[in-house]
């Protein structure tokens, strides 16, 4: 019998900013919670992120951005995911993202946005409850 596959998560940092403290803490917390976590480092282009998601066959993508370029970069990532047929991947975001941008981001398929001060526990719970069920 094959054991149930671990949830595979890609933590990705699009944009030019280098604030990776949050992304790394979240990556480590998800890993400690028993998930397979892939963190690809800073300054990933939308193309690189989607390529990694495809190669690594991930269930979840967490995007972290603190540069303010989310409205320029997130739509591109979502578009590419759709192009590659990765529509069942759960995408959430974190960083400095103003409240008023969230409805627009949800419209393009980003399922949740976590602001500063969110506990890793909240994020772990969210991923466990919402990751697509696969075997």
């Amino acid at each position: 019998m094959q054991s149930e596959r671990k949830i595979r998560v890609l933590i990705a940092k699009p944009g030019l900013d280098s604030h990776d403290r949050g992304a790394k803490v979240v990556a480590r917390a998800l890993r400690d919670a028993g998930m397979e976590v892939i963190y690809t480092g800073l300054r990933q282009t939308p193309e690189q992120i989607v390529e990694t998601a495809l190669q690594e066959d991930v269930d979840v993508i967490g995007l972290s951005i603190l540069s303010g370029a989310h409205m320029a970069l997130f739509p591109r990532i979502m578009e590419l995911l759709k192009e590659k047929g990765l529509t069942d991947v759960l995408v959430f975001a974190g960083g400095i993202i103003p409240e008023e941008d969230i409805p627009e981001l949800k419209k393009i398929g980003i399922k949740e946005v976590f602001g500063p001060g969110t506990s890793t526990e909240t994020i772990i719970k969210y991923v466990l409850e919402n990751a697509p069920k696969r075997r």
Binding site: V37, Y39, T40, L42, A69, S119
Partner: protein
């Protein structure tokens, strides 16, 4: 500092107190925690007495302000003579927008400019590079050529202000542009005052805005140090930065130790250029964070000054007392700001700023209360500046020099900070210095571990953040007005740049870029050639591309 007999008496009395008075109080009112610790993990005792500093020697460890080892301050009169420089970091949008903000800050009583650049500029890309999309002018001002720099300082005489530029990888280019603007204004180079951050080493494990591999990055930093020692006597060529190390998650001790070690590396590398330590060390400057633990921060600043003085004297045999001066800029800690109940951040910033002043800083930036959410508005920046002015003019703390000296607690903590930092310095020495330590991922791992531990403590409520894990408001609406950068900024900036490319003398640009390539391969000091290049209106991206070709690009070592 105390005679032995007195210490023995105090010890005896303390033991008696611990057996008689203390237990009754603990029975009635048990201590709130089993253990009290600061951010660096030091155990804080309930009471400090002369016993805790009995090994101290006043003249050896404290001395007088303005004299070695400078624990009590760099200047004999400190803020009685002159207040610290209130230097607020600013920059967004186009050069015109930031020029306006600069003029506003100067009119509000600010005494020094501090420039924030946008990410494309920081990473050495022009505003029209594809990777710059969505980032132009967002987190700072976009500067792609001398033309932008001319607009940025339009109407601001460079001999009347000092300018700090937060730039590292491309620092040579931005400094070259500043020199070129000065030349155009007719300001002699020896009158240009200011600072380039230019601390490329900390990029590899803290701020992570690395362009080139470690060795050429260090070379470029040292090019500026050397060039300034020879031509720009009033310029601080480098601001050796602990701020980013701390913000990335380091403890106070790690911030102190890693920053000072970077300082050691720059001194060693500059000595290889044939300069004597006293030729350049007086212009080295430092930059620290001020976090929440009030006394820990004060102790850190005092220990930093003493430790640097000792390193310069004992390790590098400096003779000029100014070479032993640790001149520091402090910024209140951005990562302590909360998005929840943002007005609380004014209080946090006040406490942190007060620690910096009691720690004897030379200049200070106070964060605005809305910065966990967005770029600060004019109003929030004003409150932040007023915070400093209230400390300076109303609180009375600036009326005497180093008022906390002699506090048993502060002195004991200062000593412990220095000891713990020295242990790290020894460890890095044993690893063969900064670059081997970076390549092994030593700093990266240390900092990532501390960051994770800090977050765990918050989640386990071992560390309370008011408004976040205690006293949170359920369903809080955050009423902060957001300053947004107009998306037309990118368009305007790109148009200006493309127009420049058409109208400049492109043959000359090509020539000077070839010359730069040659100079980089020959390992010359690149400052003179880069000044020539910016004056020909070669762009930042073009200059950096030449260097990328010669040096290669840095590939991040990923450690989570």
């Amino acid at each position: 500092m105390f005679d032995r007999q007195k210490i023995e008496e105090i010890a005896k009395e303390r033991e008696r107190w611990e057996k008689t008075t203390l237990p009754n109080w603990i029975k009635q009112c048990p201590e709130r925690q089993k253990e009290f610790k600061n951010h660096s993990g030091m155990t804080i005792k309930g009471l400090y007495t002369p016993e805790d500093i009995k090994e101290m020697d006043y003249m050896r460890d404290l001395g007088f302000p303005g004299e070695y080892p400078f624990t009590r301050g760099l200047h004999a009169t400190m803020y009685r003579g002159r207040l610290w420089t209130m230097r607020m970091f600013a920059g967004y949008g186009t050069a015109e927008d930031t020029n306006k903000r600069f003029k506003y800050l100067l009119s509000e009583g600010e005494t020094g400019l501090s420039t924030a650049f946008d990410y494309p500029t920081i990473m050495g890309y022009d505003s029209d590079h594809p990777i710059a999309r969505g980032e132009v002018g967002v987190c700072g001002v976009a500067i792609s050529s001398l033309q932008d720099m001319e607009v940025l300082f339009d109407g601001i005489p460079l001999d009347k202000v000092t300018t700090s530029m937060t730039i590292n990888g491309p620092a040579t280019v931005l400094l070259a542009m500043y020199i070129a603007v000065g030349d155009k204004q007719g300001v002699p180079r020896e009158k240009l005052g200011g600072t380039t951050q230019n601390d490329n080493l900390k990029e590899f494990f803290a701020q992570k805005l690395c362009i080139f591999p470690p060795q050429p990055s260090l070379k470029l930093s040292v090019d500026i140090i050397e060039y300034c020692a020879r031509h720009l006597p009033k310029w601080n060529p480098i601001s050796i930065s602990g701020y980013h190390i701390r913000e990335a998650g380091a403890t106070a001790v790690q911030e102190l130790a890693f920053t000072l070690y970077d300082g050691i590396a720059y001194v060693e590398e500059t000595l290889k250029r044939g300069l004597k330590v006293d030729d350049f060390a007086p212009r080295l400057s430092f930059f620290f964070a001020s976090h929440n633990d009030f006394f820990e921060e004060i102790a850190k600043f005092r220990a930093a000054r003493r430790l640097w003085a000792r390193i310069m004297k004992e390790r590098f045999h400096a003779k000029n007392p100014r070479s032993m001066w640790m001149r520091m800029h402090v910024q209140t800690s951005g990562c302590t700001l909360t998005a929840q109940q943002p007005l609380n951040n004014i209080v946090r910033t006040t406490i942190q700023a007060l620690a910096a002043v009691l720690g004897g800083t030379q200049s200070l930036h106070t964060n605005s209360f809305d910065e966990a959410l967005c770029l600060p508005t004019e109003e929030s920046v004003r409150v932040a500046l007023r915070t400093q002015q209230i400390i300076a003019y109303e609180s009375g703390v600036a009326n005497t020099v180093d008022p906390l000296a002699g506090s048993y607690y502060v002195e004991a903590l200062t000593n412990e900070m220095e000891e713990k930092a020295m242990e790290y310095i020894q460890k890095i020495d044993d690893m063969g210095g900064v670059i081997p330590a970076i390549e092994k991922g030593f700093f990266q791992r240390e900092i990532a571990d501390s960051a994770y531990r800090y977050q765990r403590e918050i989640e386990e409520k071992k560390r309370i953040i008011v408004g976040v894990n205690k006293y949170a408001i359920e369903g809080e609406e955050i009423p902060v007005k957001l300053l947004r950068v107009d998306p037309s900024v990118e368009k305007k900036q790109v148009e200006r740049l493309q127009k420049l490319r058409r109208k400049r003398d492109n043959r000359k640009v090509k020539e000077v870029l070839e010359k730069l390539h040659y100079a980089a391969e020959k390992d010359e000091n690149l400052m003179p050639t880069i000044i020539e290049a910016v004056k020909a209106y070669a762009t930042l991206g073009e200059i950096m591309d030449v260097l990328r070709k010669v040096y290669g690009e840095y590939k991040e070592l990923i450690i989570i």
